[in-house]
Subunit: 347 residues, 2 copies
Amino acid sequence: MRKLTVDQPPAYPVYLGRGLLTQARQDAPPGPKALLYDRAVEGYALKLAEALQIPHRMGVEGGEEAKKLECYGQVLSWLAQQGLPRDGMLYVVGGGTLTDLGGFVASSYLRGIACVSFPTTTLAMVDASVGGKTGINLPEGKNLVGSFYPPKAVYLDLESLSTLPPPLFREGLVEAFKHGIIAADEALMRLESLHPEWPGLEEYLERAVSVKIRVVEADPYEKGERRKLNLGHTLGHALEAATRHTLSHGAAVAYGLLYAALLGKAHGGADLTVSVEGLLRWLEPPPPPPLSWDELWPYMARDKKKLGDSLHWVIPLKPGHLVVQPVAEEVLRWVYAEFLERVSGRP
Amino acid sequence: MRKLTVDQPPAYPVYLGRGLLTQARQDAPPGPKALLYDRAVEGYALKLAEALQIPHRMGVEGGEEAKKLECYGQVLSWLAQQGLPRDGMLYVVGGGTLTDLGGFVASSYLRGIACVSFPTTTLAMVDASVGGKTGINLPEGKNLVGSFYPPKAVYLDLESLSTLPPPLFREGLVEAFKHGIIAADEALMRLESLHPEWPGLEEYLERAVSVKIRVVEADPYEKGERRKLNLGHTLGHALEAATRHTLSHGAAVAYGLLYAALLGKAHGGADLTVSVEGLLRWLEPPPPPPLSWDELWPYMARDKKKLGDSLHWVIPLKPGHLVVQPVAEEVLRWVYAEFLERVSGRP
């Protein structure tokens, strides 16, 4: 087992390893607890509930449905009906949608109760697990409501990945690849061995999470440095939205990384397209929607990141060297044409 | 104009005076703004909107309806539709339900935007304006969801009280009377002159708000000292809930203060019942519901303050000397019998 620390503040530990229920039981404070879990990992969640003797358990369907205001209200009402007190603790087990929802519930129920998180997808482990961002969606857009609310502890239990479907396992590691570009950590960009049972997975995840921890510590409230984590996400979010999320987040971000790599090249940077095309071959995502720039643009203008400002792009000039800036529309269009050529396989 | 400071932290100013729009205009930062207001004070709110040139305005009906999850969602969606950015500012004008709602919206929209509050009732000025508590209701109870989120500034504009119905004007000052007991400030317990046009009102409100500021500064997250502000509220909230809020908050708390005074006497404290009965004569509330202790009790057990603990009572032993502790049920019943006798006018 490895133990990382996020000094956000307040500092909290991130445990990483295979089989962490014993550790979680040792760490558990006395006092009332409730468990919110993703039905997709019910088996793992109930093992936790048993190990920690948590009587109050609520399972919800993961995915964006879980992040609707209605579901937020249902979980809050459930906690109130169970009478979970102010000094109670909410355990959250599931993918990123569950940990986002659970974190916001914990931050607002009785004006804030303690929360412990067990991310159970590679995406949630590498991305959402660290940083204290919580959030739910509005009909107007994703993650428009939420809080910065660090958990008391995070457990990244590789055991909980055993039931994760292989495409989802791969998808989440797109964010790890992205962290490789941000931190110039080439080990994160080598994907061939990645598999739930690979002995190197624990170290790989530690490297990936460590990048996120360093960025978050430098910028806890997303005022500057943290915006680099948005690499690949501006186009990525637009592709997700334009396909009504039939294109997965990982696939959309992988395409977004290719677009970002092309933007970097257009700005005189190193050619990262070869690496990203390697990522795409490994991931084998469905093709992106055949949208023109004019069709895609409205989905970007609605992005939260844009609010209050012209749209900023994270441009990788080389691994470890990224700039965040607006880009002229002509350049964006021209690079998008090149992007479409690459992904359609035509020259 | 007077200027108080709440050192919560972060510190924020509380302006108090008659006609504060000029001050608010001077303080207003550049950048996008939105205005959420109570329709009951639309005239005042629109003057503010004009003075500060706020284009985005949303009026809602005040009262507990405003604190439902549905209304919370509507305000959030409205902000998103207006495209209010992260560095935008939300102005909130209205009674306590509006400032509670608006504060929670501001704390959670885009994970937190700046907020300025204009409480327009005596209750909101004396009670909710300071302390940074925000909140909405669940079907399971009031204020079960919210945050601690200090505003950037608070404006207590006596001009906005001019349209407040006299019963509401008096009601809010029950909290000021309560602050008089907490801080042993007798001036706050002299009610005869209180009137919206009374020249001494500004000083009176300053004294009342100052008590709250001192308590909040000593205990920003309601861990101890701040629980004294709950004086009169345990029975008060139960009376409100049992009458489905046909008994107003001020009237319910006034009755709660009488009950607390009787509890104090029963614990060997000074006799505060004469003062509180003076308050009741001045307030002229409708009679409390003729409920037995057994009928009332379930409404107290559901109170948020109880969660995680046996019910604690704030007991005034004399002005300035309060204890917070559980009370044996026999004592509570016996004092309630005395309470019913007093309020029914029977010996």
